[in-house]
Amino acid sequence: MSVLVALEVTSGSEITLREDESLLRSMERSCFMLPKIGCKGGGCGLCKVQVLSGEYELGKMSKKHVSELDKLNGKVLACRCYPKSDLTFNVNTTNR
């Protein structure tokens, strides 16, 4: 299997992904500085990103921070986002 990569569009940074690793963990491991890292458990909403393209699976997240509409629009918490393909995403989300 080829190595998966996530492209963060605001900074232009490329982050190497690992299988079964959350997008947030990949960013931490790559020393990519997210604006904010909170609880890493889907509860506090600080690591919200917008995925622009690519496939991913989601763990459970607080509905206070991620609505069904957010999910449809790719606005998800990086700590609960598990990429399954190359991704492009933006650490800046509008309508946080």
Partner: protein, 307 residues
């Protein structure tokens, strides 16, 4: 003045995934699963506690704290305090016996900070886990992970600190043990105790009501705190900060998160309080040192990550 409220009795915590949460609180923190109910709630205790349970986990779409309960010396005390709460204009809700397993009637009320509290006097006592109360050994074998010894307190964020202090002191008999005061005299943090502990419940000012900062569990020694930190790294559990020492209460501490993002603390040591002690005061411009005695600097996460 003491009014018959004894101690924190339990906290009900909402979690996103029950199985992940049970694994965290049991295998990592060392609590003991005691029971489950028809609603799917899980009842846990720490080993030194005499009552059957002190932590209740409930699966939900949103993490946080449902309520914190204080145990009173008698049913008569609960009834008297219910009257006093009503006389103050608090809305109270009577929860019948058995709603929580093996627990008597509870009287719930909402504090001005938005948090739900309750008073109760009766809960099944199963004794200290693994040692009992007759020629007890020093500690039980077979404890997991951090071997947390008791549920100690909660720190909660919300508005209306003065009204909340007045309710807890004049109606429930808590003392203000420690406080953080801004230059204009506004109290921005208040640590309340109903016994000799440094705190049984603490509040920090926050505009949004009913926010949960952490539930805290007691460990015996600084080495146990370090060992807890090792276990957090071994299990790749999210750490907030520590191991370090607090200025407030002077406890030795580490903060981390459960799998739903609720913050937990385990700590050792710390100050004590007698009713004749005046409150200990920290200036708000020393808040960094007050909270993290060694770094002397707050991390933003500690102030803003709440469930």
């Amino acid at each position: 003045m003491k009014k018959g409220v004894m101690r924190p009795g339990h906290v009900q915590i909402r979690v996103l995934d029950l199985n992940e949460a049970v694994k965290h609180y049991v295998e990592l923190m060392g609590l003991i699963e005691m029971d489950r109910d028809q609603e799917g709630r899980v009842y846990l205790k720490a080993w030194t506690e005499v009552d059957k349970y002190s932590v209740i986990l409930r699966e939900s779409y949103e993490p946080g704290m449902d309520f914190m309960g204080f145990k009173c010396t008698s049913e008569e005390v609960v009834e008297e305090l219910r009257k006093e709460l009503l006389a103050r204009g608090c809305e109270v809700e009577d929860i019948p016996e058995g709603d929580l397993k093996d627990c008597g009637r509870r009287v719930q009320f909402r504090a001005p900070t938005g948090h739900l509290f309750e008073l109760f006097a009766t809960k099944e006592q199963t004794g200290k886990w693994g040692v009992g109360d007759h020629n007890p050994e020093a500690w039980p074998r077979g404890l997991s992970g951090m071997r947390a010894s008791r549920f100690d307190h909660c720190l909660l964020y919300g508005p209306n600190l003065p009204e909340t202090l007045d309710l807890f002191s004049s109606v429930l008999g808590f003392d203000l043990a420690e406080q953080v005061v801004a230059p204009d005299g506004t109290r921005v943090a208040q640590f309340l105790t109903v016994g000799m502990k440094a705190h049984d419940v603490a509040f920090i000012h926050n505009d949004e009501p009913d926010k949960f900062h952490h539930a805290s569990f007691f460990l015996e020694t600084w080495h146990d705190v370090l060992r807890a930190a090792d276990l957090l790294s071994m299990t790749d559990t999210a750490i907030d900060i520590g191991p370090t020492r607090h200025g407030l209460t002077h406890g030795q501490t580490i903060y981390f998160f459960d799998p739903s993002g609720n913050r937990n603390e385990v700590f050792a040591g710390g100050d004590y309080h007698y009713p004749d002690h005046p409150p200990v005061t920290w200036d708000a411009d020393e808040l960094g040192k007050a909270i993290f005695y060694h770094d002397r600097q707050l991390n933003e996460r500690f102030l803003t990550v709440l469930t």
